[in-house]
Every structure is written in structure tokens, then in C-alpha cells.
């Protein structure tokens, strides 16, 4: 074996110097804990997603939709994000179906929210709609981590009880990788998660307060800022909402049991509900349906087989020649003017479900 010459790598004192650098790198961040101790945080409760985060302050479960659903007793329920919101005109669908429609939509929502809405609002209200439609794009349905980042969690809070063990265990199957574990270990050792929850808002508030010292005016300013950057003010940019399906997400066999799809199908079946998953067509390209990789096409075939074998329905808009490019606004969103037309096409295509 090749013998190392002493001149090629540092040793002795030199190695001690590098060791000192690494030791300081790892010990200085304990200062975060000290800083945290000075900060009087708002009361924190254990999270319903311990696989993802530590204790934090959260918004309470909102039971209003449960009461509203029970009072409304809808014939059909629509769950989804802006893909459904920019496509379905509930009033028109109500006219066509002759039954009340309950849209449970939230822009920026993902499968965790859809699952909780189905379980904690629709099923909990004990209504028996003839069908529950869940809108999604490409591989979103089997990616439990889609829109589950910190900035989306407040939305999930409204639909989550104090414990969501099944959701948590599904998430745990996706967060058991070494990166999540390492990040989680560092966060808990140094108290970084807790620090992040108050330091960053404190920093942005400090900047705002320096410019606008009055508390009331500052609050009004922040609210105006949020309005200034709301969806209405965003440019109709093709890339705005196009989130291309990553090839590695298009592996149905790998992700289905690490997703909420089996739970949705199981819970719906137990409650006697028919679930219809609606895959929206992404933005057409040059007058043709959008490109789909071979992996994605295989994924959709597997998805359909799985859903149908578990008593659900999959409706795929992709390739529907009636859904032309001129109906689209930005990215995969439809234009407001196309909502009524889409709703009518949707009703036509799924007529058997509306009989």
C-alpha cells in the first residue's frame, strides 16, 4: 500500500488548528439557545406533526365548515387549490347538477390539507354528497410534502385536530431520510426551529418599525403590502404557477404507500362516499396538449388502476381537445372568463356522476 509522506497532509499542531475551527463551528451555535432563553415566547403546544416540527404556537381547528356543511347538505363537494378555484364555477355547476355544490378550496393548498378537509370537515359533518371531487396536478396527489413547508402550515392548522397520527406517520415515511434527520437533529440540539419562529419576524418587524414607528400605521402598512403583492397583482406569466413534475416524483409504486391517497380512499369508502380525483390539464403547448414524459404517463396509468381498484374514480382532463390554450390565464390557471365554459365541459364529461 502507498505510504503517506509526512509533507502531503498536515499533522500534529496543524490538525489541532483545523480541529479548533470545527469545534468552534459546532459549539458557537449553542448561543441560539441562550438567545432563545431571553425571549419570552408565546405558549407552544406539541405539534400534530411531530415528524416535521417541534412544539409551536398554532391556530386552532376551525369547526365552522363542519356546521356549514351539515346545514347545507351538499350534493357534491369540491376540494382543491387554485386549479379547482380557477376552473369550477360553483353557481353554474349547481344549476347544471340541480344540487347544492360545496367548494372547499384554498389557493396554495396541498394533499395534506385536502386529506384533512375530507376527513375532519366533510366526513365529520356526516353529510352524504353523491360525489367528492378532489382536483390535483400530475404527481401532487402522492407527494405528501407538496405545500407542507412552514409557509403553508397555518392553512393546515385550521383543518387539523390536536393529534393527526395517521397524517404524521405518512409524513414520517417521507422525512425518515438522512437529510431530514440531520436537519431535525441540529434544530433540536441548537433550538434553531424555535429561534427561527421569532427572530425572523422580529427582524422584518424591526425594519418596518424603523420606517413606520406608529404601531397602528405599521399594521396598516403591512396589510397594504400583503394586498400589493396578492395574486391579483401578479403578472400573467407562464412560469408563475407552472411547477413541472419532477421525474423522480413520477414513480407511483414508490410513493403511493407513502402518500395520503390510500387514507383518503379508505376513509371515503368507510363513510360511504364516492371520491373522484380530477387531474387538471396543464397549459397546452403550441396548440397541443402539454408534454408528458414517459414516466409521467406510466404514473397516471398506475394511479388510475390503483384508484379504480379501491373504489374511486379518476378523471383526467389531459388531452381533452375542448380545453384550448385560449382558456388559460397564467401558468396552469384558467382565465376567469373560461370558468363557466370549463364547468360546463366538466359537467358533460362526468355526466354519469351527476345523474
Amino acid at each position: 500500500m502507498h505510504r503517506l509522506s509526512a509533507s502531503r497532509i498536515p499533522s500534529g499542531k496543524a490538525a489541532a488548528q483545523i480541529g479548533l475551527l470545527i469545534a468552534l463551528l459546532l459549539t458557537v451555535p449553542f448561543a441560539i439557545r441562550v438567545v432563545n432563553a431571553w425571549h419570552h415566547d408565546v405558549p407552544e403546544t406539541p405539534s400534530y406533526l411531530p415528524a416535521l416540527e417541534g412544539p409551536r404556537a398554532r391556530d386552532a381547528f376551525d369547526a365552522t365548515p363542519v356546521r356549514d356543511l351539515a346545514r347545507m347538505n351538499p350534493g357534491y363537494v369540491i376540494i382543491g387549490d387554485s386549479m379547482a378555484g380557477t376552473r369550477i364555477d360553483p353557481r353554474r355547476l349547481t344549476e347544471l347538477a340541480g344540487q347544492p355544490i360545496a367548494p372547499l378550496l384554498h389557493p396554495g393548498s396541498g394533499p395534506a390539507w385536502w386529506y384533512l378537509v375530507l376527513k375532519n370537515w366533510v366526513i365529520a359533518s356526516q353529510v352524504r354528497p353523491r360525489c367528492v371531487f378532489i382536483f390535483f396536478r400530475d404527481t401532487n396527489l402522492t407527494n405528501v410534502m407538496f405545500r407542507l413547508d412552514e409557509q403553508f402550515r397555518w392553512m393546515v392548522d385550521f383543518a387539523a385536530h390536536e393529534r393527526e397520527d395517521e397524517l404524521n406517520s405518512v409524513i414520517a415515511t417521507r422525512t425518515e431520510g438522512p437529510w431530514f434527520r440531520l436537519a431535525g437533529t441540529f434544530e433540536s440540539i441548537y433550538g434553531a426551529g424555535r429561534a427561527r419562529r421569532w427572530i425572523e419576524p422580529a427582524l422584518t418587524q424591526a425594519v418596518g418599525r424603523t420606517l413606520i414607528p406608529s404601531r397602528r400605521q405599521h399594521a396598516a402598512f403591512m396589510s397594504s403590502m400583503n394586498a400589493r403583492f396578492s395574486l391579483d397583482h401578479l403578472r400573467p406569466m407562464e412560469a408563475a404557477d407552472i411547477q413541472s413534475a419532477e421525474e423522480h416524483d413520477a414513480d407511483f409504486g414508490r410513493y403511493v404507500n407513502r402518500s395520503l391517497l390510500p387514507l383518503m380512499l379508505r376513509d371515503a369508502k368507510a363513510a360511504g362516499l364516492t371520491l373522484c380525483f380530477v387531474r387538471v390539464q396543464r397549459r397546452p403547448e403550441g396548440g397541443r396538449p402539454p408534454y408528458q414524459s414517459r414516466a409521467l404517463r406510466r404514473y397516471v396509468t398506475d394511479l388510475r388502476a390503483y384508484i379504480e381498484s379501491h373504489g374511486g374514480i379518476l378523471h383526467d382532463d389531459t388531452g381533452d381537445t375542448a380545453l384550448t390554450l385560449d382558456m388559460y390565464a397564467d401558468g396552469d390557471h384558467l382565465a376567469g372568463t373560461a370558468r363557466r365554459l370549463y364547468t360546463e365541459i366538466f359537467f358533460e364529461r362526468l355526466k354519469p356522476l351527476f345523474k
Binding site: 502531503r8 479548533l20 463551528l25 458557537v28 413547508d149 397594504s224 403583492f229 403550441g286
Partner: protein, 474 residues
């Protein structure tokens, strides 16, 4: 594989650990294998391209030495094959779209051509080898392994800095050493690089992305966004360079500097001596000087400068805004020189300034150049030409009070996040050069504390939106 991933950290620790237990040739075999694994980690077919480029350039260089009378032909083989690959993968759709637009035909669905990451960097690096051999400045290498390591060396493969064969190849061929100085300074560069990427670039990038997504930005909001983007692109690109240089040092290599505090430049030419230095010097040596440089009179010089900068803009991407950005910077250089020619007495006038006026003049020059740079970044970031026209027509007087407040708020936020970058630049420029050397234990402890604080900041402030390195797309 990206630097800010656990995959890379594990990969690098394994490679570096095995590396120092091998003799030089074994190290090169390991580097070759590791670099190809790194590059083909997500898309293995990328390896076909880099291997093809390497094989052609190796053979072309050997051919030039074996048949000197045909060396021009071998040079063309290298240039055509490298530019052919680059042109197909990077510019094919752009070309087709523009031809269709000119002919007024119905748009055809574009071919789905995935741009292989790093192709613009390694093709340029490979061509520097064959061009230097053609010019007789470098001898063709016999070892295909050494040439392959030179072209694919993983720390800088994806986003530079582009290395010259005359600088990097000898290091590939020589015995490497890991000195404590290299290990320590490499460690600092890696820490500083991660801090710049995860704390500065990703956070100010969120501000820039929000502003550039607005349909109707007002003057203050737009320029706050441009400022945020200026900070983002510098922090992001220089972070990649620092991590590349730091990891290279741990493997016993030295890569050239790519940035020298560009936002403290005093003139356009000064800016290009500080920004993306490896690319600017590549274009200087392989495009601008062969075109004639400044030897053939003012008009020819202006043409050469403009052509070089248009090509440099186009190198960044297949889009007209990059061409516009390159043209803009070329024009700035031409106009600066024209102004210098029109007022040749300026140096004497400068000498006559009172002492207190010199720093004021310096500050004004830096501020003026920074504003010009921001205009350039607007052209660079805004991909829609119609939006560029609209942005440049915005009036500061038409903004509402809320827009002024919002612009100031976003600017202040971007400034707060980028403050470490400014402090570092100002310190290095006006107090002393980068103090990479640390001879005493207290100095070392201070550097360790700085690394620890950087790590703490990464833990607390890392953006929720992790963005790719910007220059990956080029």
C-alpha cells in the same frame, strides 16, 4: 449534485478521505471517477456529452502536435464540436422560435431539450486547452486521464470559475499537498460560501422574485427588487465560487478568484475586472484580442468591444434580454472611453482636487457605477422585452406614498440581509485585503467563532425557499 445538499457533503467527505491515501495517479483516477459520478448523479446521459467533448479535444490537441500543418483543421474540429453541442442544447429552441417569428408562421411545439447543467462552463474550459495548444502556448498532453480531470474537475464543473489549461493542468499533473493553510482557508471559504448562499442569496432572492412577479410594479418597488436581485446574484454566484475554491483547496488545488468586490467598482472597465473574472478574461483572450483588440483604431475597438459583450451576453442564455444586457455593458465601456478621449485633461484635474474631495469623488464614482450596474441587472433579470420597456419608462413621481414606503421597506430588508456582504467588501477594499492568513491561535479562534456564527445564522435564517444557484441555468 448540488453543494447545499447532504448528498454532496457525504460525497465530498468520502472523496477527500480516500483521496489523501492515494498516490498522485490514483488521486487522478479517483477525481475522474468522482467528477463523473458528481456530474451524472441526476442525469447520467450528461456524461456522454462531457466525455465526447473531452475525447474530441484530447484528440484534436494531439493531432495538432502530430500534424502541425493541419492544426487549423484540428482547431476547427474542437471549436465546431464544442460550439455545436453548446448551440444545440442551449440555443436550438431560441433559434427556431426567432426564425418562426420572423417568417410569421404558426409556432411549432418546441423540442424538449434539457440544457445539461454546466455545459457552457466546461466547453469553454475545454476550448481554452485546444486554443492554447494551437497557439503553441501549451503542449498537448499525452495522458487522457489528466485532460479528463482538467475538464471535469467536480468542484467547479457546474458553475465555474472557468480555469485555463495553463493554470489547472499543471496542478493535475503535479504532486498535491494539503497544507494547514490550504485546509484552514478552504474551510473558511466553504463556511462563507454557504452563508452567502443560504442566508443572503436565498433571502434577498425571495424579495427579488416577488417584485419581478408583479404585473404593475411602481418605480420604488421595482428598483428595490432590482437592488435585491443585484445582491442575490452576487451572493449566489460568489458563494458557488467560494465553495468551489474551498473544496478544491481540500483536494490540494488552487482555483482562480472570480470576484473582487464588484459593487465597489469605479467605472465599467473596473467592474469587469472584478465581476466573473474568469469569464471576462476568457472572452478577452479568446474573442476580443483575436478580433484585434484596441490595436486597429477607435472604431474597430468599439466594434470589437460591442461584439465581445454581445457574445458574452448570449453566453448567459438564449434570450434577447441577455443580448441586451451584454450590449448595454459594451456600450458603457465604449462611452466611458469616448468620454475619456473627449476630456483628456481629467487626470490633471483630479490631481488638483483638494484632499477632502478625493474620498467624496471615490464615493460618487462607486455610487454612479453601482446605479449603472443596477440598470444592467434589470435587463438581465427581466426576461420579457416589453416589460423592460415599461420598467424603464416608470417615473419616480408617479408612485403613491404606499409604493414609496413599500419600496423603501423592501430595499431596507434587502440591505439588512446583504449587510455582511457590504461590510466584507468595504473592509477588504478600504481597510485591508482578505486576511486569509492566520498565524496565531487567537486569530484562528476568531475565525472559528466567525464560522460558528455563520453556521448559527444558516440554522436560523436559511430561507424556507431553497433556490438553485442562479448560474446553474447558464
Amino acid at each position: 449534485m448540488i453543494f447545499h445538499s447532504l448528498d454532496f457533503i457525504i460525497f465530498f467527505i468520502l472523496v477527500a478521505s480516500a483521496y489523501w491515501s492515494l498516490p498522485r495517479r490514483g488521486q487522478n483516477v479517483l477525481l475522474f471517477g468522482a467528477s463523473y459520478f458528481f456530474y451524472g448523479y441526476v442525469h447520467p446521459w450528461f456524461l456522454i456529452l462531457i466525455a465526447t467533448s473531452t475525447a474530441i479535444d484530447y484528440c484534436a490537441a494531439r493531432g495538432m502536435e502530430a500534424w502541425p500543418d493541419r492544426k487549423k483543421g484540428f482547431l476547427w474540429l474542437s471549436i465546431v464540436s464544442n460550439f455545436g453541442m453548446l448551440g444545440f442544447f442551449k440555443y436550438f429552441n431560441f433559434f427556431v422560435e426567432n426564425v418562426e417569428h420572423l417568417l410569421g408562421g404558426a409556432p411549432h411545439p418546441a423540442l424538449r431539450i434539457l440544457l445539461p447543467v454546466g455545459i457552457s462552463f466546461y466547453t469553454f474550459q475545454a476550448m481554452s486547452y485546444t486554443i492554447d495548444v494551437y497557439r503553441g502556448e501549451l503542449r498537448a498532453r499525452r495522458s487522457l486521464l489528466d485532460v479528463a480531470v482538467f475538464i471535469s474537475f467536480f468542484p467547479h464543473l457546474v458553475a465555474g470559475p472557468i480555469q485555463r489549461a495553463s493554470f489547472l493542468l499543471p496542478q493535475v499533473e503535479e504532486e498535491r499537498r494539503l497544507t494547514v493553510e490550504k485546509a484552514r482557508s478552504g474551510f473558511l471559504l466553504i463556511c462563507w460560501g454557504f452563508f452567502k448562499k443560504l442566508v443572503i442569496a436565498d433571502n434577498v432572492g425571495v424579495i427579488a422574485n416577488k417584485v419581478f412577479a408583479l404585473q404593475d410594479p411602481s418605480f420604488p418597488i421595482l428598483w428595490a427588487g432590482v437592488f435585491a436581485f443585484a445582491m442575490q446574484i452576487y451572493a449566489d454566484f460568489s458563494a458557488y465560487t467560494d465553495i468551489a475554491r474551498g473544496t478544491s483547496r481540500w483536494l490540494g488545488f488552487e482555483l482562480t478568484e472570480n470576484f473582487a468586490h464588484p459593487y465597489l467598482a469605479r467605472s465599467p472597465s473596473d467592474f469587469w475586472r472584478r465581476w466573473n473574472i474568469s469569464l471576462s478574461t476568457w472572452f478577452r483572450d479568446y474573442v476580443y484580442l483575436p478580433l484585434g483588440g484596441s490595436r486597429a483604431g477607435h472604431a474597430a475597438w468599439a466594434r470589437n468591444i460591442l461584439l465581445t459583450f454581445v457574445l458574452s451576453g448570449l453566453w448567459h442564455g438564449a434570450s434577447w434580454n441577455y443580448v441586451l444586457w451584454g450590449t448595454y455593458h459594451g456600450l458603457l465601456l465604449v462611452l466611458t472611453r469616448a468620454r475619456g478621449m473627449l476630456s483628456p485633461a481629467r487626470p490633471a484635474a483630479s490631481r488638483a482636487l483638494p484632499a477632502f474631495a478625493v474620498p467624496v469623488l471615490t464615493i460618487l464614482q462607486i455610487a454612479g457605477m453601482f446605479v449603472l450596474t443596477l440598470i444592467g441587472w434589470l435587463l438581465f433579470r427581466e426576461t420579457e422585452l416589453s416589460a423592460i420597456g415599461r420598467d424603464l419608462r416608470l417615473s419616480p413621481f408617479a408612485a403613491t406614498a404606499l409604493d414609496r414606503q413599500a419600496g423603501l421597506y423592501l430595499f431596507a430588508l434587502a440591505l439588512v440581509y446583504s449587510m455582511p456582504l457590504w461590510i466584507h467588501s468595504l473592509w477588504a477594499e478600504f481597510v485591508g485585503p482578505d486576511t486569509e492568513g492566520a498565524r496565531s491561535w487567537p486569530q484562528l479562534a476568531l475565525q472559528g467563532i466567525a464560522c460558528g456564527l455563520a453556521f448559527a445564522a444558516i440554522l436560523v435564517f436559511r430561507s424556507r425557499t431553497s433556490l438553485d444557484f442562479i448560474y446553474f441555468q447558464f
